[in-house]
């Protein structure tokens, strides 16, 4: 006799935080790794924080630019959006006067690449936090 088919129901991870998925995502956006830390995944949180903040710092040290939101230049707008996915580091860098962009340095484009990629990688980290929070991923 065939067994009845059962539709799998997403089950939140036992390590999941009591915080809402939105709160966890906001934390992960503001501080890289904070979302995983709140979910009890300390090792992953430390790796994300160290690597992503490190990438951002290297990008600034390479003379990369913190791009403004300028709708007239779509690529500049997208670069700014990517950089702002790294909430707190981007805010601190802006308030500290970093990221003017040194276009004549040989590492200028590398710096931009590090800054933008760090933000985009944090976007993936935020999505992972969301998936873990709703039980889509364990």
């Amino acid at each position: 006799m065939p067994l009845p088919s059962v539709t799998p129901v997403p089950v939140p991870d036992r390590r999941s935080s009591s915080a809402s998925p939105l709160t966890l995502c906001a934390a992960a956006w503001f501080v890289p790794g904070a979302g995983h830390l709140l979910q009890g995944r300390t090792e992953k949180a430390v790796v994300f924080f160290v690597v992503l903040v490190g990438m951002f710092t290297v990008g600034l040290a390479f003379g990369g630019r913190l791009f403004p939101f300028r709708l007239a230049e779509p690529l500049v707008f997208l670069a700014a959006a990517a950089e702002w996915v790294l909430g707190l580091p981007r805010l601190v860098a802006a308030l500290g006067g970093f990221g003017a962009g040194d276009v004549i340095r040989v590492t200028y484009e590398y710096g931009n690449t590090f800054l933008i990629a760090a933000g985009l990688l944090n976007a993936l980290v935020v999505l992972d936090v969301y998936d873990l929070a709703i039980g889509r991923r364990r």
């Binding site: 790796v47 390479f62 040989v106 760090a118 980290v125």
Partner: protein, 57 residues
């Protein structure tokens, strides 16, 4: 040359570590994926670099 190479290697390493830790939970799987991604990025950059020299150099 050294700046370009070290910057590329550093970028590849950072991306590889993030993807490895993001995708897998077991440390062994994380390291394995990170090494594969790092190798793919560095070798890919070399191949594209030589291709560009062949086309435009």
């Amino acid at each position: 040359m050294a700046v370009h190479l070290s910057a590329m290697a550093l970028f590849a390493a950072a991306v590889a570590v993030v993807f490895g830790v993001l995708v897998h939970d077991a440390p062994r799987d994380q390291v394995r994926l990170a090494v594969r991604i790092f190798g793919g990025l560095v070798v890919g950059a070399y191949l594209v670099g030589w291709l560009m020299i062949g086309l435009y150099g």
